[in-house]
């Protein structure tokens, strides 16, 4: 730690963010907030009250301390307050067959990234994060249309208000898209909800002229999971069910987009396909007199057919979201009859090209706690992590984050 005084100050501030929220409010991990478990205000309308519209507010406000990234040689500690998520969601439905979900995002300056600090303020952008029309025609056949989460990794499909660890993996995102994409998905549950299938056709790499993209093709995903014990039958997963369900789910997915990138962007030749596959598992079980144990892990491989080897590869085929493979494992323990959940997480990723370094390996270790004041509706979390770079493309660093979450 280059600046112990700053680090100590930040620790104190972080503790200050976490601790006051605790004992005076806490009752148990499942305590419902005064405004109810189901979120914000609800409007019922239409004949036979078939119409419903609900407004929710969701926020994750965090303080981040990293032991480098600032100062003359970027060797000094970095501190940041920012909204990680700051959302207003509209949930609407007409009857039980049709619903809509629209969610806006106005997060704060995300200047402290997974492996570095931005050179200038990235600013905050308002965006419509989700806008999806849902047709629940049958439990075995449902259709989603619009902008929503694509069907590759379980990790990305886990609701970010219900994570086990502080946040989802920093390294698991697919190339050329964010966490959402635009398109259409069909999905459903079969065999008494034991098996779930999903298939989607999405925009993939955003449409652009041949100056930057070799072709305009859709990106296709296929995902399935087998869920034992209590089923996971929704479109979104959770990182933890806080011991309210017993879950054992294994899944896998495959994603492809033909001609997604050039290996030579200057000559605009040698187009390469994007392919990815993943397998994942999730286990959570409440045990008498012990509390609830959660284990989860996944492997993911993102393949751009060696596009990084080209003379002038597309920047999107490099870096965190470019060609890579790796895995994570995470474990949690919710103390019995308590609002305290301890968690740990380990990730190992191998990147084709990261920070101009070929075949860079990143090890990420993290551990921390969640303190559920009113379930996921009001929660404070703290996580300490260490990020290690095998070839030293970036100096190893430590990060400490405290976070307050509210879902209203």
């Amino acid at each position: 730690m280059n600046n112990p005084r700053t680090f100590a100050l930040a620790l104190t501030l972080g503790a200050g963010l976490v601790l006051p929220a605790g004992p005076s409010f806490a009752q148990s991990k499942t305590s419902a907030p005064p405004w109810g478990q189901d979120g914000g205000p609800k409007i019922v309308f239409g004949e036979e009250d078939k119409g419903v519209l609900q407004v929710d507010y969701k926020a994750q406000f965090r303080m981040t301390l990293r032991d480098l990234g600032s100062g003359l040689d970027n060797g000094d500690a970095t501190t940041s307050f920012a909204f990680r998520r700051n959302r207003i969601a509209l949930r609407g439905a007409w009857g039980d067959k049709f619903s809509v979900y629209i969610q806006s995002e106005f997060a704060g300056d995300s200047n402290v990234g997974a492996i570095g600090v931005t050179t200038s303020n990235g600013g905050a952008d308002f965006q419509i994060l989700d806008a999806v029309l849902r047709f629940d025609l049958h439990d075995s056949f449902k259709i989603n249309v619009g902008k929503f989460k694509y069907n590759l990794s379980r990790e990305n499909l886990e609701a970010c208000e219900d994570p086990l660890t502080l946040d989802r993996s920093l390294f698991i995102r697919a190339p050329y898209v964010g966490t959402r994409d635009s398109g259409i998905a069909v999905w459903g549950n079969l065999f008494a909800d034991r098996f779930q299938y999903r298939a989607d056709a999405m925009d993939g790499r955003p449409t652009a002229s041949g100056e930057s993209t070799p072709a305009s093709n859709f990106r296709y995903s296929f995902r399935g999971h087998l869920t034992l014990l209590d089923p996971e039958s929704g479109y979104g997963y959770k990182g933890t069910y806080l011991g309210e369900k017993k879950v054992f789910t294994i899944g896998g997915a495959y994603q492809i987009e033909p001609k997604a990138t050039y290996t030579d962007t200057i000559s605009r030749i040698r187009a390469k396909d994007y392919k990815a596959w993943t397998v994942d598992g999730f286990f959570e079980y409440p045990v008498n007199n012990m509390g609830t144990v959660t284990l989860s892990g996944a492997y993911e491989k993102v393949d751009l057919d060696g596009a990084y080897q080209g003379a002038n590869p597309d920047s999107g085929s490099l870096g965190l979201n470019g060609e890579k493979n790796g895995w994570y494992g995470k474990a949690g323990y919710l103390v019995k009859d308590s609002s305290l959940q301890l968690f740990g997480r380990y990730e190992k990723w191998r990147f084709a090209s990261l920070n101009q370094t070929i075949d860079e390996i990143v090890d990420w270790y993290g551990g921390g706690l969640n303190y559920y004041v009113w379930g996921q509706s009001l929660k404070v979390s703290a996580e300490f992590s260490h990020t290690k770079f095998d070839k030293g493309s970036v100096k190893d660093f430590n990060t400490f984050v405290t976070q307050l979450q509210i879902v209203f």
């Binding site: 030579d264 286990f283 060696g306 080897q309 003379a311 070929i358 075949d359």
Partner: protein, 446 residues
């Protein structure tokens, strides 16, 4: 649906097992590369600079990259640009496993553009496609151009023409290299030469895989007319573009607004091992920038200096002696694509575009004014060329009195690039929209 909490005693075994598995997984995961697969370094042959030294090529040869199987990302084909006599000469020999590009037969041709045919023009699609296949070049190949040892300056021009030709036909700068110093550099590095001719299997590579030609690397007669007119009409444009005719500091006639340079090797001064009998060496980027600012060219009667940062168009007599300057900007300075171009028609073409020759072939005065380089730029009192264009010689008018290959009133001025673009875009590269001209027009050569 929930089944209630598990009994502690019954749960102890699986929980303990899960914990042990987690610990084992964690321990395994923390070690090295566990659970991941690695990535190879990028193709080294493409990441090398366009001008390579002998040691680089020796390393590639030692690594088995020369004539490696088709499809191997790092494969290299060494192309010796010379004639068959030199290539098989027991005295000169060649680099082992290199293949011959016979410049006298393979590298240029008479083609029709503007009003009629011109010689020493860019190789047409069918010929280029056949050449690439015969040399064993595929889409994964890095091409290394070389010349026999003790090569003449004239022969070395052909290496530069070959470089320009590959680049125009869609090969990326990263895929076309020049062995600096040619076979001399190889020999001085202690490597043996051979007179054994290797037989390489032809590739099935199709030029259409390169997607498009690079028309920005070449100026047609129509583009030159437009460029000269725009500079005459707006001389301030010279702040962003420079024209260089390398035929000599006092050569005449020459195009308006054009620098005259002191030969094709004004900036290529060094030779392998410092020996006068050996092949010339392209300079480093730093040396070239220094030479550009210290070795003057002529702007009319005034000494001037070439800029390394301006868009540049080079020309000569018939696009051979200008080609080293193209290499200097494209391969040594690595200017942005399109910031260096060669006018392959050069003086052998524009000297035919006189009012007298075009009128003699039947054009009206206004039609001739649109094409002639000794005419005034419309709206100005500036001529398109400086000096007197050659007089017509009976029997040598390329436009043939009473007959134009194309019509003097036509608007199509860029037929070669149009034809080449059509060829490279055609499925299979099999269309042949190219016609060769006849008779061959007079030209001075360089």
């Amino acid at each position: 649906m929930s089944r209630g909490p598990l009994n502690t005693r019954r749960a102890q075994a699986p929980i303990l097992a899960a914990a042990l598995i987690a610990i084992a997984l964690g321990s395994w995961g923390c070690s090295g590369e566990a659970g991941t697969t690695g990535y190879d370094n990028p193709v080294t042959t493409t990441s090398a600079p366009p001008i390579i030294g002998a040691q680089t090529l020796i390393a590639w040869a030692d690594e088995g990259k020369v004539n490696a199987p088709f499809g191997v990302a790092d494969r290299v084909v060494i192309v010796s640009v010379t004639n068959r006599a030199n290539f098989t000469s027991p005295a000169k020999k060649h680099i082992p496993d290199s293949v011959l590009l016979d410049f006298s037969a393979d590298l240029s041709m008479t083609r029709e553009e503007g009003l009629g045919p011109s010689g020493s023009m860019m190789l047409a699609g069918p010929q280029m496609d056949a050449l690439v296949k015969r040399l064993g070049i595929d889409e994964s190949t890095t091409i290394v151009l070389t010349v026999p040892k003790a090569t003449s300056d004239g022969d070395l021009y052909q290496l530069s023409v070959a470089y320009w030709t590959f680049r125009y036909w869609g090969f990326a700068r990263s895929r076309v290299k020049i062995l600096n110093g040619g076979d001399d550099a190889w020999e001085v590095a202690g490597q043996a030469l051979t007179d054994a001719v290797v037989s390489v299997p032809p590739s099935t590579f199709n030029l259409t895989a390169n997607k498009a030609v690079k028309p920005a690397l070449r100026y047609s007669v129509g583009e030159m007319l437009a460029l000269v007119d725009s500079l005459n009409q707006n001389p301030s444009l010279r702040a962003g573009i420079q024209l260089l005719d390398v035929r000599g500091l006092t050569v005449s006639p020459y195009l308006a607004n054009t620098f005259r340079g002191n030969g094709g090797y004004q900036f290529v001064l060094d030779r392998v091992n410092g020996e006068s009998g050996r092949t010339r060496l392209y300079p480093t980027k730093e040396a070239l920038i220094a030479r550009l600012s210290s070795l003057p060219v002529m702007d009319g009667v005034t000494p001037a200096f070439m800029s390394p940062g301006k868009k540049t168009v080079v020309m000569c007599g018939s696009s051979t002696s200008a080609s080293p300057t193209f290499v200097l900007f494209d391969a040594v300075l690595e200017v942005p694509e399109g910031d260096i171009a060669m006018y392959d028609g050069s003086s052998s073409q524009w000297n035919n575009y006189s009012l007298a020759k075009i009128r003699a072939a039947g054009a009206t005065e206004s039609q001739a004014n649109a094409w002639a380089f000794d005419a005034l730029t419309p709206g100005t009192s500036a001529f398109r060329s400086v000096g007197t264009l050659p007089s017509p010689v009976p029997g040598e008018n390329p436009f043939m009195p009473g007959y134009f290959v194309y019509q003097p009133g036509q608007t199509e001025v860029n037929q070669i690039e149009a034809s080449d673009s059509l060829f490279i875009s055609a499925t299979g590269g099999g269309t042949t929209p190219v016609t060769t001209g006849s008779p061959k027009p007079p030209g001075s050569g360089c």
